[in-house]
């Protein structure tokens, strides 16, 4: 089950679940994102947004995704056997939902996204993946 989906931009953070622990997990998984992005030679040339499995702390698996504008999507799931293709698919749909939400003229860039439609879309995407 996907327990947390986060959008991390310059300032913004939208949580699907505001448990403190997930905050921590998302926050520290950014380290891994940084590492992946800054050390392309280590993990091969990075020419796709999908960052793959970031780290498996304890009972969770954390997946990351980086948009062209350096906005990170972090996904925390309790599913221990997740296929990468599923994750890729999820992030692609999530990305388009995010783009739609940000394209809203009333959205203030670099502020928390407060769109109800966005929340609904995210929850449907999450549910579709189980």
């Amino acid at each position: 089950m996907i327990v947390c989906v986060a959008v991390v931009g310059h300032q913004s953070f939208t949580e699907a679940d505001d448990a403190l622990k997930l905050h921590h997990i998302v926050h520290c998984s950014l380290d891994v994102v940084d590492e992946r992005v800054n050390n392309p030679k280590k993990s091969g040339p990075l020419n796709e947004s999908f960052l793959g499995l970031l780290c498996p702390p304890e009972n969770y698996k954390v997946y990351g995704y980086l948009t062209n504008t350096k906005v990170k999507f972090i996904l925390v799931t309790t599913d221990l056997d997740v296929r990468d293709a599923d994750m890729r698919n999820f992030f692609r749909r999530f990305h388009s939902a995010y783009v739609d939400a940000v394209s809203n003229p009333f959205h203030v860039p670099a502020k928390k996204i407060t769109s109800r439609t966005f929340a609904e879309r995210v929850s449907t995407i999450v549910k579709s993946l189980g």
Partner: protein, 1195 residues
């Protein structure tokens, strides 16, 4: 030293010390962890599964004072005193023994010692015995630089003065003994043993044959139950021998040898499923690989293997697993693989909370040291470890880790995490009783907007609990609850400008300035007057800082906002001010010392309940209590009232949150950010100056308001109000002036109308003495009124003055009134003050009145006036009372009796009605003087429109109506040219009196609608009228018809007019209006070439529209003008003449007799001509008025 046993662990510490030094090398590795790892190593040593800690040699030490040293030596190595491992066969009890006799020189050199030594030599062999003499210092005062045992013994208390009798030689001697022991005895012994064991192992295990044999033998033992805990391998078993061999080789740095033996062993143990031993061997293999510094992968895989095997064993292997993990970590650290090290630490941390807390903390440090540093993971692991520390009640450690984590989260927007960390640190500090720090951390989480309501409540409640536990009143600068809304900060003070109401304060200063301009003396004039004593005081300083008056409150509006969802209460909100007594020299620095002192006192003084005014204080502060609901914003008005002259500075604001903690806010600290200084002053000074006030001696201050000013009125409503002025102080003010911004709406009345009702003062009176109205008021201009000199207001007695309000146009109207007054006492700094009043009046539309004027076709100098009245209100109905025309040359009268056209008398809501009036020019003579004085007493005529004939008509020349009419005229003026042929109307109506609500009626009185500057269409001074029969019957068979007409001409100008009437017989276009039968078919009239008549000269612009009419020339006219074609007359001013005219008609039909021109020329006398030329025309040509004449064939 007596009876101690020393196992030669110094050799095996070789590796350890390297790792230790690494540990020490890492700065982050604090002492506590170091110590704990060391004790861990000590604890897990001497295990039966490995030979690393097995004794190699035994040092037996006996004092020379002992009675029977030889027996003592024997006794020391007695079997029943040995550790169990040696006795139960896990270790080889046959170890190298060394005998040391220690002699204390303080006891004196005794022969006995040498004797004992000799006996020892004979008993134990000469090689293994030695004598050590210590404490040879004479006075026992040898100071050592440092405790010589420090590196080896950590738990020695520093207070003990160890080794004070040891001199340098003794220390050297001790060192020598130990070096001898290790180099001459232990190492050779070990080498010897390695040789022996190696031979043994080669014989039994090396070679192909031995290996096969071994394999077969092992297979055979497969069925034996796994009893790894039991003493399956004694020291004499071949496996143990190999292990000892490998360990010895490792210790003596023969890593190749060690490795080969370890490898040999590991397969054996693996086959035997002796997991603990297997793991131990794997561990050692890993270390050996590491020491050989090659095959890193192998080293790590060995370590991992060992680690996992230990873990598999469950709880008994836990400690070993930890130790193994630590080795592993150290290996990784030396290779700077901090990230991997961190993950190993993470794996080491097991179930036990304290254990894992320590490990997680170490892991976090590894993340910090990794490259690039993984700060977020560092923070995360610190938080995890802090939680575990807390679980084991290690609060101090928990706080330490959390504080470390705080540095990561500081400055980020991850507020949930931040709040969590701060809140817990705060709570833990409070638990430890360190309330100051606790509160400091708790303060950080107070304004947690993002948290849920429950969390907010929890935070606030815990915070308040902590504060209460301290039992003190804490004072916090920049308390985050509530949020001070600095942009809303507004300081209102009254210097020479005073305000009657809060609404007046919010009006822009520029509006007041522009209004005040012409009634206040400018500062510069005051200053340049050097004869006065005031300019000295009005120094630069005065101008730069704000001036306020002692005894008058300075109001500060501050917005408090509650960011939380829960409600909070703040009490004792007051300003923080400082007051410094003004020195006579007005040197700013002179007051600074007292300022600071007072400031501190004021600031730190805990707020007591009730009024904050103390007699010692030179100012009074107001206090308010506010309760803020969730998300609410409240603007509180705080006041400070200076009591004595001097300098007052507003520093900040102070409040008490939930009755337990005091918050401060310093305005000055926000200086840079703040742009809006105070609402009233548009100065560019920094804010600190804006909050600084010079307090001057108390002055009288007028208070004023307008009584009964309605909020909403209908357009045209005219009512009397009263302006009440009051001066509470005994000092009187004088020289009062008043200025009104909208004289169209508000006008000053005469004093005597104060006692009269509104209709009464407007009713027509036979005698009306107007002169006495101006005794106390001088109108300086249209908007400025000057009260007479003797008007003094003082002592709190109200001063009433009537004011007229007339709602001129619908809309929202802001009325500004400024009252200027001067101080009776001229010694004050401030000479004058102004009172600013502001009122908003909403004016609703009531009656729409429009007029149309057209000349009366049949009468000379008469006009028809068409008045449309529409009631625009929703509910009101009006009684139209009277219509007055203004101007002495016009007489207005109804066309029809009012009962006929307006039977209902009331105009209902939404109803429209038209009235027709006759307007007659009744001007007798106009002198030029009349034109100049425009607002002079209005004369005019009135028409009663109401039914009751007994009701009095209102006199439009009485004060309020006439005044307002004047302003309406000014306002509605279309061009600046004053034209006499304009007429103004005033419609006066009254609202319907409803009997049900008599209270309302008393206030609603009268409506007046003014319509000005209606131009009369004909501007020519010459009037004429054709008069004659309209229908004629004539028998055309007999003769043509001769008709006489009469033209009446009037000269209404002031000059003699020369008038020429020229007729022409051509028909104006389309003029034969006769029916088709009457016109012969052969008549070609109307079908000729059209050309403009050249001889018709049209100069009058007023009649320009008529020029376009084409006229047919050379047309056989059905009628001709008989008599002279041109008549010239001279007309005296204001006189009328009648001219006879005659036409001949030849056939029946309808004729338009307008084909004549009238030329007029005013013959001015010389001076009049020059003057009048600019205003009106001196000559003109008019074409004739249409005059239709029908001639019928008589029977």
């Amino acid at each position: 030293m007596q009876g101690s046993k020393i196992f030669p662990t110094c050799f095996q510490t070789h590796l350890k010390s390297k790792l230790y030094s690494l540990l020490l090398h890492l700065k982050f590795c604090h002492h506590g962890f170091n110590f704990s790892t060391r004790s861990l190593h000590r604890q897990v040593s001497f295990s039966d599964h490995e030979a690393f800690d097995h004794p190699v040699a035994c040092l037996l030490v006996v004092s020379s004072k002992d009675e029977d040293p030889i027996n003592k030596f024997v006794d020391l190595f007695n079997t029943n005193q040995l550790p169990s491992l040696l006795n139960d066969g896990a270790m080889d009890p046959k170890i190298l023994k060394h005998y040391l006799l220690v002699h204390d020189n303080q006891d004196g050199m005794s022969e006995n010692t040498t004797k004992i030594l000799a006996a020892m030599r004979s008993t134990f062999g000469s090689n293994d015995c030695r004598l050590l003499c210590i404490n040879s210092s004479e006075d026992g005062l040898v100071e050592h630089q440092e405790n010589p045992w420090v590196p080896h013994k950590t738990d020695a208390s520093p207070s003990q003065h160890l080794g004070c009798f040891l001199n340098i030689d003794d220390l050297d001697e001790i060192k020598n003994v130990m070096q001898d022991l290790s180099s001459k005895h232990i190492i050779p012994h070990m080498e010897q043993k390695i040789r022996v064991l190696n031979q043994q192992v080669s014989a039994t295990r090396k070679g192909f044959r031995n290996q096969i044999k071994n394999l077969w033998w092992r297979k055979g033992k497969d069925d034996t139950p796994d009893n790894s805990n039991g003493l399956m391998y004694t020291f004499s078993s071949i496996e143990s021998q190999i292990r000892v061999l490998a360990d010895y080789a490792f210790m003596l740095r023969d890593y190749e040898l060690a490795l080969s033996n370890y490898r040999l062993l590991s397969t054996d143990y693996k086959l035997d499923k002796a997991w603990k031993r297997y793991a131990g061997v794997q561990e050692m293999m890993g270390l050996t690989y590491f020491m050989m510094d090659q095959l890193r992968k192998d080293a790590e895989s060995c370590m991992e293997n060992a680690f996992n095997t230990y873990l598999k064993m469950g709880p008994p292997g836990q400690q070993n697993a930890t130790r193994c993990g630590l080795w592993w970590v150290e290996m990784l650290k030396t290779r700077y693989q901090y990230k991997e090290a961190a993950s190993v630490y993470f794996r080491i941390s097991g179930e036990e909370p304290l254990h894992s807390a320590v490990m997680l903390e170490q892991a976090s440090y590894c993340y910090l040291f990794s490259k690039p540093p993984m700060l977020r993971k560092y923070g995360f692991h610190l938080v995890l470890s802090g939680d575990l520390y807390k679980k084991c009640d290690q609060i101090k450690h928990a706080i330490r880790t959390y504080r470390g984590a705080l540095s990561v989260f500081k400055g980020t927007t991850w507020s949930h995490i931040k709040d969590h960390v701060h809140f817990h640190i705060g709570k833990w500090y409070a638990f430890l009783g360190m309330f100051d720090v606790a509160i400091k951390h708790m303060l950080e989480v107070l304004a947690c907007i993002h948290q849920s309501k429950m969390t907010q409540e929890l935070f606030l409640r815990d915070f308040l609990q902590v504060v209460q536990k301290t039992g003190k009143m804490f004072e916090v600068l920049r308390l985050q609850l509530p949020v001070i809304d600095i942009p809303s900060l507004k300081v209102v003070f009254e210097d020479h400008r005073t305000y009657a109401s809060p609404t007046a304060i919010s009006v822009r200063e520029s509006i007041w300035r522009s209004l005040e301009e012409d009634i206040t003396p400018s500062w510069s004039t005051v200053k340049t007057n050097w004869l006065e004593s005031q300019p000295r005081l009005l120094s630069k300083k005065y101008k730069e800082s704000n001036v306020c008056v002692a005894g008058e409150a300075i109001k500060v509006d501050i917005g408090f906002k509650n960011p939380l969802q829960i409600s909070i209460s703040i009490s004792n909100v007051s300003l923080i001010c400082e007051h410094s007594a003004k020195s006579d020299e007005m040197v700013p620095d002179a007051s600074s010392t007292t300022t600071a002192h007072l400031n501190d006192e004021e600031k730190r003084k805990p707020t007591t309940s009730g009024e904050l005014s103390s007699d010692a204080s030179s100012f009074t502060l107001s206090e308010v209590d506010i309760s803020l609901e969730g998300g609410e914003k409240v603007v509180a008005q705080l006041t400070v009232t200076p009591r004595v002259e001097g300098m007052l500075k507003i520093i900040g604001v102070r409040w008490k949150l939930s009755g337990s903690i005091i918050g401060f806010y310093n305005f000055e600290s926000d200086l840079v950010k703040k742009k809006v200084a105070n609402g009233r002053r548009k100065t560019k000074q920094p804010m600190s100056d804006n909050l600084k006030f010079i307090v001057i001696k108390s002055l009288p201050k007028l208070e004023g308001f307008i009584q009964q000013l309605p909020k909403t009125v209908y357009t045209g409503d005219l009512r009397r109000l009263a302006l009440e002025l009051r001066n509470p102080s005994e000092t009187s003010v004088r020289n009062i002036k008043m200025k009104i911004s909208h004289p169209r709406f508000l006008n000053i009345g005469n004093e005597e109308v104060m006692d009269m009702g509104i209709p009464a003062c407007l009713e027509k009176k036979a005698k009306f003495v107007q002169s006495d109205a101006h005794t106390r008021i001088n109108k300086v201009s249209d908007t400025v009124f000057l009260y007479s000199e003797d008007t003094l207001i003082h002592g709190g007695t109200p001063f009433l003055w009537p004011i007229w309000l007339r709602a001129a146009v619908p809309g929202n109207i802001s009325l500004y009134i400024i009252i200027y007054y001067e101080m009776e006492d001229i010694s004050t700094v401030m000479r004058y003050r102004t009172l600013r009043m502001h009122y908003n009046v909403e004016v609703l539309p009531s009656l729409d009145v429009s007029f149309q004027i057209s000349p009366c076709p049949s009468r000379l100098q008469e006009f028809l006036v068409w008045m449309d009245v529409v009631n625009r209100t929703h509910s009101e109905s009006f009684q139209v009372h009277q219509l007055s025309s203004v101007g002495n040359e016009w007489k207005i009268s109804l066309l029809q009796p009012i009962e006929a056209i307006f039977p209902s008398e009331f105009l209902m809501a939404g109803q429209a009605l038209s009235f027709f009036f006759k307007l007659k020019n009744g001007r007798k003579s106009v002198t030029t003087e009349d034109n100049v004085s425009s607002p002079a007493p209005l004369e005019g005529t009135d028409v009663r429109l109401g039914h009751g004939s007994n009701e009095e008509l209102f006199d439009i020349s009485r004060s309020p109506l006439a005044d307002f009419h004047h302003f309406e005229r000014v306002h509605q003026r279309m061009s600046d040219q004053e034209h006499p042929h304009k007429v103004d109307f005033i419609l006066i109506s009254r609202p319907r009196r409803s009997d049900s609500d008599p209270g309302l009626n008393s206030s609603v009185n009268l409506f007046s609608h003014h319509a000005c500057h209606f131009s009369i269409a004909n501007a020519s001074p010459i009037w004429w009228l054709m008069d004659g029969p309209r229908i004629m019957h004539h028998n055309f068979t007999a003769s043509f018809c001769e008709i006489r007409l009469r033209m009446t001409i009037r000269n209404s100008s002031d000059a003699i007019a020369s008038i020429r009437i020229s007729t022409f017989d051509s028909i104006p276009g389309g003029s034969p209006l006769s029916d088709a039968t009457s016109v012969p078919p052969g008549n070609q009239a109307g079908w000729h070439d059209i050309s403009l008549l050249n001889d018709i000269k049209v100069t009058s612009e007023v009649l320009g529209t008529r020029v376009g009419k084409s006229q047919l020339a050379e047309c056989a006219s059905p009628f001709i003008w008989s008599g002279s074609s041109s008549t010239r007359v001279k007309l005296e001013p204001m006189s009328t003449i009648e001219l006879p005219l005659q036409i001949c008609v030849f056939s029946p039909g309808t004729y338009d007799l307008s084909n004549y021109n009238l030329h007029w020329n005013l013959l001015f006398s010389d001076d009049e001509g020059n003057r009048g030329a600019g205003i009106r025309e001196s000559s003109g040509t008019c074409t004739g008025h249409p005059y239709n004449l029908t001639v019928l064939q008589s029977a």
